[in-house]
């Protein structure tokens, strides 16, 4: 057994290691139960849960691009009732903090879902998905500091759980939104959500996605995500959960060096559902090999070239 201290803090939430899953890329934890014992994760971040059930967008919902994928799932989910009845009990069987991703069309929606989660004790933290590019108006909240703050404030009122604001890279200056969320009472930030884009099938002369636009994720966006983390790390004091293109342990290290306190494996789970386990082990090994007794020493430790 190594003696590296692997625990990190996201507000009042203690993670046994810095690794969680990207919302929407790991289902509700049960799908890959044969492959990933949940109690090994720092936390499990589950798929978006909305006030009402959502059908989602018609297929084609995903297209492959160079070192990435575009997705336009459209937040298909069974709604908060379904989550509380059918998903939370399973998740609660594991010694693993649950982060529930919450989208909404207005501050009340967000607050309603968070209130239900709080009352039921069915989450250990909430991640406010103010930045989903695949539903109408899904983006507005993440592109305007006042709107973003209004969502955070509404949720802050109804829960003592750590509130994590998930930011979009599709803005001129992500620091402005980060600061607004911090000031409104967010305990942490998670970034980045997907980058808007599209793909065309030149032979058919049609868009590849039924929704036309989608969100780009995967290794292609890692440079964008790393810069977002680094910039926010230097602008706010609250911890950051970094994600965007993590495909191996060293990618996760890059995020921590850029200023992330924790990281999430997203699209990488599709290629290898056991990626998070590999990343946990890899981070620990990196600490051992490089003489870090505490994984927290990596946070923001990058220096100029």
């Amino acid at each position: 057994m190594s003696t590296v201290k692997m625990t990190v803090q996201i507000g009042t939430l203690t993670m046994r290691n810095p690794v969680t899953t990207g919302s929407g890329t790991f289902g509700f934890g049960s799908e890959t139960k044969d492959l990933v014992p949940l109690d090994r994760l720092g936390a499990v971040t589950v798929k978006a849960t909305t006030r009402d059930p959502r059908l989602g967008n018609p297929p084609q919902r995903i297209a492959e691009t160079a070192s990435g994928i575009l997705n336009a799932i459209g937040l298909q989910n069974g709604g908060i009732d379904d989550y509380l009845t059918n998903k939370a009990p399973y998740l609660r069987d594991f010694d693993c903090p649950i982060i529930v991703n919450v989208p909404g069309e207005n501050p009340d929606d967000f607050a309603y879902v968070v209130e239900r989660l709080t009352a039921a004790g069915a989450a250990d933290a909430v991640e406010l998905n103010i930045s989903c590019p695949n539903v109408s108006h899904g983006l507005d909240y993440a592109t305007d500091p006042q709107l973003a703050a209004s969502v955070v404030a509404a949720v802050r009122n109804v829960t003592k759980m750590p509130v994590i604001a998930k930011l979009s890279p599709n803005v001129t200056d992500i620091r402005v939104i980060a600061k607004a969320c911090e000031d409104a009472g967010a305990d942490a930030l998670s970034m980045i959500n997907t980058v808007v884009g599209t793909a065309i099938d030149p032979r058919k002369r049609k868009f590849r996605l039924a929704n036309i636009t989608g969100g780009l994720s995967g290794p292609a966006i890692k440079p964008v995500a790393l810069l977002a983390v680094w910039r926010c790390y230097n602008s706010v004091k609250i911890p950051i959960i970094g994600m965007g293109g993590i495909a191996c342990p060293l990618d996760a290290i890059e995020f921590m060096l850029a200023g992330a306190t924790a990281v999430a494996c997203g699209t990488g789970n599709f290629v290898d559902p056991t990626l998070s386990l590999e990343v946990i082990d890899g981070i620990e090994q990196y600490c051992v090999e490089n003489g870090f007794a505490d994984v927290n020493a990596l946070i923001g430790a990058v220096t100029a070239a």
Binding site: G27, L35, T267
Partner: protein, 260 residues
């Protein structure tokens, strides 16, 4: 139980159809747990193909602990697979699929399997496994293709006592016409239909069966980004309006459930 394995490649054998291969790998786990309709997802270390690609189980050999898949070379994953050598390892996840072909009751029916393209491999496996359980049961496999040289996947069917009917669009072999032309006369009371292949073909087979009140199971081959139910990217619309994950709710559906 789904496992991720670095399976050892036993052989990669070219078929007579151009760019088609059978890849056999060692996997006691897959060999003992794969049922007809199950698939596996292959991650080829090609650098650019970031998603795993699904392939139906084609043959299983539990005693040798081996399974095979049959594939045609299309993009980076299949190109890499075609270049593998015996002794290489192949990164596979499986067996995948939440609902597979259900031929029960096996006895007393005429099982008609209708396939085309890469829908043929799982039907081959299904046909042989029905005959293995019930050697007297009538099994017919109808295989369609544009032309004779594109027909694949009848490996060992005749030997297993399966009737095989070929249909080609250009009449270069077998029935000159579509698989539905060959299917129609067989849609008697005892018929049960299973189909896998291009969507328009499955739709036609499903609708024809439904019109004749014949039970039809369709195995959908949509684009499957993760294969394990976590991306919700592989959905098909069902008649009740719900989007269903073909990887874990399927790939096999009652034909009458699908909103084609």
């Amino acid at each position: 139980m789904i496992k991720k394995e670095a399976a050892q490649v036993v052989s990669v054998t070219p078929l007579s159809a151009p760019r088609h291969f059978v890849l056999t790998m060692k996997s006691a786990h897959l060999a003992s747990h794969s049922r007809p309709g199950h698939f596996i997802a292959v991650a080829a270390d090609t650098g650019s193909a970031i998603l795993r690609k699904p392939f139906s189980v084609y043959t299983v050999n539990p005693s040798a602990g081996e399974i095979s898949i049959l594939f045609s070379v299309y993009g980076p994953t299949t190109t890499a697979m075609s270049r593998m050598l015996p002794g290489d390892t192949i990164d596979v996840l499986g067996p995948l699929g939440g609902r597979v072909f259900n031929p029960e009751p096996v006895i007393g029916c005429h099982h008609i399997l209708v396939g085309g393209g890469y829908g043929v491999p799982p039907l081959n496996y299904l046909a042989k496994s029905i005959r293995a359980v019930a050697p007297d049961t009538k099994v017919t496999v109808i295989i369609g293709a544009r032309s004779a040289n594109l027909l694949v996947g009848d490996d060992g069917l005749a030997a297993a006592g399966v009737d095989v009917i070929y249909c080609t669009d250009d009449g270069s072999t077998g029935v000159h016409g579509r698989v539905t032309d060959a299917l129609l006369p067989l849609l008697q009371e005892d018929a049960r239909v299973y189909t896998c292949g291009p969507t328009p073909m499955m739709k036609a087979v499903g609708e024809l069966s439904e019109a004749h009140n014949v039970d039809c199971q369709v195995s959908l081959e949509t684009f499957m980004p993760c294969g394990v139910g976590i991306c919700v990217g592989c959905v098909v619309k069902k008649r009740d309006g719900v989007y269903s994950r073909t990887c874990t709710d399927g790939p096999v559906y009652p034909g009458c459930e699908v909103a084609w």
